[in-house]
């Protein structure tokens, strides 16, 4: 059995990035779910917030006595390898007419139609929400479609834009600056503060980590 261990990288005087994997993938995703579940159900004293990423989880502490990091890491290391059940599949209607579709096709050496076919032919998994409110980082992009981020990010990308950044695909949940390649657009509102209720504030986000997503092409 491979011995996995979490490394704690300082990120300012009161925070650490807990690095649990070298690269994204199935093992990293399972580790992230196991670690965040442990932080959620049994937070260490003084923890203000945790934020998951692909290969790391940020933990931020309130000012005060230094947290017992060694004890936390021992506890979290024991949780690695826990299996977490997958979430439901959501269909998302997408109009594939983004301004960077041709750039992605050229980079991949494919036709635009082939790019659409490959992008819509995959069931993606929501790895995490982040970057912007309710923005899903979707795992499972066909490696042929991986395209480097733009050298200079756009200052405005519209909500609903379906995009590829490096080897990830995602859907912009709100308008804002962004450096990903825009390939299409959905009318679905992935983030809507109006959906939040006191009992379920997380309902503001259409998708949750672990959910799965299928893009269904719409006629232009």
């Amino acid at each position: 059995m491979t011995r996995r261990r979490i490394a704690a990288l300082p990120y300012g005087p009161d925070a650490w990035l807990l690095r649990f994997a070298e690269r994204p993938g199935e093992a990293a995703f399972q580790s992230m779910r196991a670690i965040t579940r442990a932080l959620e159900t049994d937070p260490p004293p003084g923890l203000v917030e945790y934020v998951p990423g692909y290969t790391s989880v940020l933990i931020e502490f309130a000012p005060g006595p230094a947290p017992d990091l060694g004890k936390l890491l021992t506890r979290l290391n024991r949780r690695l390898g826990e299996a977490i059940e997958p979430g439901p599949i959501h269909d998302i209607p997408v109009r594939y007419d983004g301004p960077d579709l041709v750039r992605v096709a050229e980079h991949a050496g494919l036709s635009v139609a082939e790019v659409i076919e490959r992008h819509a032919g995959t069931v993606y998994r929501v790895a995490l929400l982040g970057f912007a409110p309710g923005f899903p980082y979707l795992d499972g992009l066909d490696p042929a479609l991986a395209t480097p981020r733009l050298a200079t990010p756009r200052s405005r990308v519209e909500a609903g834009s379906v995009a590829i950044g490096g080897d990830h695909t995602g859907i912009y949940s709100v308008p804002g600056p962004g450096g990903w390649n825009l390939i299409g657009r959905t009318s679905l509102r992935l983030f809507d503060p109006g959906r939040a209720t006191p009992a379920d504030p997380a309902a503001m986000c259409w998708l949750r980590p672990g959910d799965r997503v299928r893009c269904v092409p719409e006629a232009a």
Binding site: L9, P52, F131, C205
Partner: protein, 276 residues
């Protein structure tokens, strides 16, 4: 409470802000809140408000008119002061070389809708909206007719102003992955704040840094992180910025120095010094 102020012009940007909504970044919600924490707190202190009360944050050029006589306090670019404003009085926050952000407090804090425990507007997240001409503001407490005992009612602008002394930084998670030349260039360089700066982040211009090779898996980003995109021009993530990102983070600006950074106007100089 009744409306006591009306927006004549919001200037470049006028929004309601408080301490923000930390704790929701795993849903992608940025912490938000007042850009200049010291000025936000001072405006509330001058009126004996709860420390976390919501205030009006003005970028520059805002203009308001007083509808009913009321105690007001301002703090920020234009210094700090508390006074009783008479109905009909105009309040102006024109552009200033001294800084960027200015705050206006009402008795008890501004009455505003809250989301996830905070009244802070985050236009990028479609949480609330920036103020527009004709919008009216009310305090949560009636005008008191007095000021808290011992309040120093005037402070010079310099208290909250831009100054060019170096900002303290901690090494970012990718500090060791940057080459020696880039680390040195970052720490010794004279950076200029770009005009493409806002509540999400301040862009810096200077000698291009070289980001570490390879694609970084998207990872959490703290407020104050100095990210280096492929074009080598650093971007300091601020209150309304992304919660996760794939650019290498060379450094983290110390939280205590963010107030000075955010008062830096486009074209003004920023320098760094290591706290590690």
């Amino acid at each position: 409470m009744t409306d006591v102020l009306e927006v004549v012009s919001p200037g470049l940007l006028a929004t309601i802000q408080d301490g923000g909504r930390p704790g929701w970044r795993r849903f992608g919600i940025p912490p938000g809140g007042a850009m200049h924490r010291g000025a936000w707190r001072e405006a509330n202190r001058l009126l004996d408000n709860p420390p976390e009360a919501a205030v009006l944050e003005c970028l520059q050029g805002a203009s308001l008119v007083v509808l009913e006589t009321v105690e007001l306090a301002t703090a920020g670019t234009w210094g700090a002061r508390a006074w009783r404003a008479a109905a009909g009085e105009r309040i102006e926050f024109p552009a200033s070389l001294a800084g960027v952000w200015h705050y206006l407090a009402l008795p008890g804090g501004i009455n505003a809708e809250r989301f996830l425990g905070s009244a802070s507007v985050c236009a990028r997240a479609r949480i609330g909206a920036a103020l527009a001409r004709g919008d009216r503001l009310a305090g949560l407490a009636a005008p008191r007719g007095r000021f808290p005992a011992g309040v120093k009612a005037r402070q010079p602008a310099a208290t909250f102003a831009y100054d060019d002394s170096p900002l303290g930084i901690w090494p970012g998670p990718q500090w060791d992955a940057f080459d020696e030349a880039s680390r040195t260039a970052f720490l010794t360089g004279d950076w200029r704040v770009s005009a493409r700066s806002d509540r999400t982040g301040y862009r810096l211009e200077g000698q291009a840094l070289v980001p570490p090779p390879g694609n970084l898996a998207s990872e959490p980003v703290r407020v104050g992180s100095v990210q280096v995109p492929p074009d080598g021009q650093p971007l300091v993530t601020l209150n309304d910025g992304p919660t996760v990102g794939g650019y290498a983070k060379i450094a983290l600006v110390d939280a205590a120095d963010l107030d000075r950074l955010v008062q830096t106007r486009p074209g003004q100089a920023v320098r760094f010094r290591s706290l590690a």
